[in-house]
């Protein structure tokens, strides 16, 4: 079981993540090399068939952006009821998410999904959601998430982390405090030289 860290403790996960069904087909991968496709190179995307077949259960659900875009009319009431959160994949343009909602803060949760640990786009996406697009609610890191990303994720604006199955989330919490005084600014911080007077140290 994946375990959720929220704030700085283990929390119960109220949200059900909706994953479009797989039909065992070869995943659709956008090809690399074309300018217009640059954001989508070689990344798995959901097919129309998968999106159509996605069932959305009752209660609080985290659904992929592509599914929201396809079914938003039928989900409008549930959005208003605070039952819809969005999962953004790291290759999806953030503008698409921002433009899809009149008020981004109508979403109680945005989750950013990384397929593999080494994908660091989630840091930029989190940072932009906080600093540029004014997202104030829960920002959750999901996918291949373990303790070694937590410090960076936290500084990039995330405040909840779904630690992947098989990893000790209790121990992982400690990594939120790996460093005391980082050099840089962050989504909610300024560079160290603006934070304190280093000439006095």
């Amino acid at each position: 079981m994946s375990q959720l860290i929220k704030g700085k403790q283990i929390a119960h996960d109220e949200w059900t993540r909706v994953i479009p069904p797989s039909f065992g087909d070869e995943p659709v991968r956008k090809q690399a090399g074309k300018v217009v496709m640059f954001k989508l190179h070689g990344e798995e995307t959901f097919t129309q068939k998968q999106i159509d077949a996605t069932l959305i259960p009752a209660g609080k659900v985290l659904i992929p952006l592509a599914v929201w875009l396809a079914k938003k009319e039928s989900l409008a009431q549930r959005l208003a009821a605070g039952e819809i959160g969005i999962v953004l994949q790291t290759h999806e343009p953030i503008e698409q998410l921002v433009e899809a909602f009149e008020n981004l803060n109508s979403l109680p949760v945005i989750a950013v999904y990384v397929q593999i640990f080494a994908d660091g786009r989630n840091f930029t996406l989190g940072n932009l959601l906080r600093t540029r697009y004014g997202f104030k609610n829960e920002l959750r890191a999901v996918g291949d998430i373990m303790r070694d990303q937590l410090f960076f994720l936290q500084r990039s604006g995330f405040d909840s982390y779904l630690i992947k199955d098989g990893r000790n989330a209790e121990e992982a919490i400690a990594s939120l405090n790996d460093f005391t005084q980082p050099y840089q600014g962050a989504s909610n911080d300024v560079p160290v030289w603006r934070r304190l007077d280093r000439s006095q140290l």
Binding site: D119, Q154, S156, F179, Y183, Q184
Partner: protein
């Protein structure tokens, strides 16, 4: 040089603790091989052919004698009593044990050193001119800015896992010695007509499998925006750079694919949000860091020195060394000097623990306790009095550090190659050694004059073969090692990439191939021409024709 305050020291200490725990979890099976890989790489630890390799950061190539003593001690205690200075001005240990690395890092932390971000897909060590602060042609000492960029890039939360490695170089001279054009970002500091400090920013340079020289993305950036502009560039790269194919993942590929104009438009749009924000470098912060790089307490000395002149006139060996290894200095009566790590027959860039201690002692006695590592893989004492040069030479010579070959054919830039590196297609050190053996006559070397030979064991190009006047690249063909030769590459302001002369050669053929290239040069040169000038004037064909003329053994 920069000294750690409480903040710096705490960060490095916390990193040691973090990495110690990561190593423990890996050894306990709590981290898989694949998960541990990016973690250990960001701490400079490669798993090599024979043993792990640990790359220790030497920020912009600057070391104190205390640090070098410590490196010598570490090389003795944890390795085989030597280390390898790399083309990124770092120090590599070839034989440390994986489980010892946390202890090594802890020892490094005691002398304000670390291995943070010396590898992996993150912002790497910032490099600069080895003569920064002392060069007579310097317009701006870039070391304070290099330090500011180092701090900004260290554990940058947004750029911790980029598509690929990211290298930044800074320079402050007209005559570029930091090869800014072959970096992901190159920053050339200059003063504009109003004496204001500005930066010419290059982006998308890099060697590797697809060698490309950088393109100018900003002609005249105000220095206060150095960080915000870098942040805009790297943010665009982090989001849009390719991640599906590591050979296509450097920023140069992105810039090439969408074109510099489109890339620049994206960067400028991003920068509009960041400009004048908290990343703007304040005068106070610049001044604070600059205090660490104030000029040394130089003595007032005459420009000439009688005993030096006497030694120069009476001792041809000393004169030969001065000619090649001693460099101009902006302060009268002082010189910078290069201690050659290119002793014929030794692996280029290697230094024994004993040599490290000798150099540290020389730095203490004669050069204010500091030294530099050059990207040509030599060590520099930057502030030596003319009157001390003879003593330094005698001591350096006794330690095998005074080969008068700086800038000559045997001052070969060379990666560790197939003897150590698991990426390599072919060995590179034995090729360097065989070429050094072929050209062992110093008079002949001086006659050939300035020439750069660069050797890389694979297309990752750690030996920067594309910008060698003669570039040698190890290639792998059906399990045998072959070497592809290019000529006409050059670093500096008029940088160029070399062209391959033709089919590749076996290791045995390499000394004679280089010999033939030199023969053509010696025959064709005008009195003032260097090898590279002759190549540029007469083109590749005469060289090619001579090399392949009687050679029937080359492979297709």
């Amino acid at each position: 040089m920069y000294k750690y305050d409480k903040i710096d020291q705490q960060l490095v200490n916390e990193r040691v603790a973090q990495y110690r725990d990561q190593t423990r979890r890996y050894l306990a099976g709590e981290l898989t091989e694949e998960e541990f890989r990016p973690i250990r790489l960001q701490n400079g630890l490669y798993i090599q052919r024979l043993a792990p390799m640990l790359r220790i950061a030497v920020p912009y190539g600057l070391l104190s004698s205390k640090q070098l003593h410590k490196l010598g001690d570490i090389a003795k205690k944890y390795d085989k009593d030597y280390g390898h200075f790399s083309t990124r001005q770092n120090l590599q240990l070839n034989w440390p044990k994986l489980e010892d690395v946390p202890d090594i890092l802890e020892e490094l932390a005691t002398v304000e050193m670390h291995a943070i971000q010396t590898s992996g897909n993150c912002i790497r060590n910032i490099t600069t001119d080895q003569f920064a602060g002392v060069a007579p042609d310097e317009l701006f000492d870039p070391r304070a800015m290099a330090e500011i960029i180092r701090q900004w890039s260290t554990f940058h939360p947004e750029f911790a896992l980029l598509p690929r490695k990211f290298k930044i170089a800074v320079s402050g001279t007209k005559d570029d010695r930091a090869v800014v054009q072959m970096h992901d970002i190159g920053m050339e500091f200059f003063k504009n007509e109003n004496e204001e400090l500005r930066i010419k920013v290059w982006v998308g340079g890099g060697l590797g499998r697809t060698p490309i020289l950088g393109t100018v993305i900003h002609e005249s950036l105000e220095w206060q925006h150095a960080l915000s502009y870098c942040e805009a560039i790297i943010r665009i790269y982090n989001i849009h750079g390719r991640r599906d194919n590591s050979y296509k993942a450097r920023i140069k590929i992105l810039v090439k694919a969408i074109g510099i104009e489109a890339f620049k438009a994206q960067v400028e749009a991003e920068w509009a949000h960041l400009k004048d924000g908290p990343l703007t470098i304040t005068q106070a912060e610049f001044d604070r860091v600059s205090t660490y790089f104030e000029p040394m307490p130089y003595e007032t000395l005459p420009a000439n020195e009688a005993s030096f002149d006497l030694h120069l006139a009476s001792n041809p060996a000393f004169a030969a060394w001065v000619k090649r290894c001693v460099h101009a200095h902006k302060i009268p009566g002082y010189r910078a000097l290069t201690l050659s790590l290119k002793t014929h027959g030794e692996a280029p860039g290697d230094a024994t623990s004993a040599q490290m201690h000798v150099v540290a002692d020389l730095a203490d006695a004669y050069s204010f306790g500091e030294l530099r590592v050059s990207h040509e893989q030599n060590l520099i004492l930057a502030d030596v009095k003319l009157s001390d040069l003879f003593s330094v030479w005698e001591k350096a010579r006794a330690a095998g550090l005074a080969t008068p070959n700086i800038g000559l054919l045997t001052d070969i830039i060379c990666c560790p190659g197939g003897d150590f590196c698991s990426l390599a297609n072919a060995k590179s050190i034995p090729i360097a050694q065989s070429i050094q053996a072929q050209f062992d006559d110093l008079d002949y070397l001086h006659d050939i004059g300035d020439i750069e030979i660069n050797i890389s064991g694979c297309m990752n190009a750690c030996g920067h073969h594309h910008v060698g006047h003669i570039g040698i690249l190890g290639v792998d063909k059906g399990d045998t090692e072959w070497y592809q030769v290019s000529i006409g590459g050059k670093q500096g302001n008029d940088a160029s990439l070399g062209n391959v002369i033709g089919p590749s050669f076996s290791a045995d053929e390499m000394p004679s191939v280089v010999q033939k290239l030199i023969d053509v040069y010696v025959q064709e040169r005008t009195p003032e021409e260097r090898f590279i000038d002759t190549v540029r004037r007469i083109g590749m064909d005469p060289f090619k024709n001579h090399v392949y003329a009687e050679n029937t053994e080359v492979s297709a």
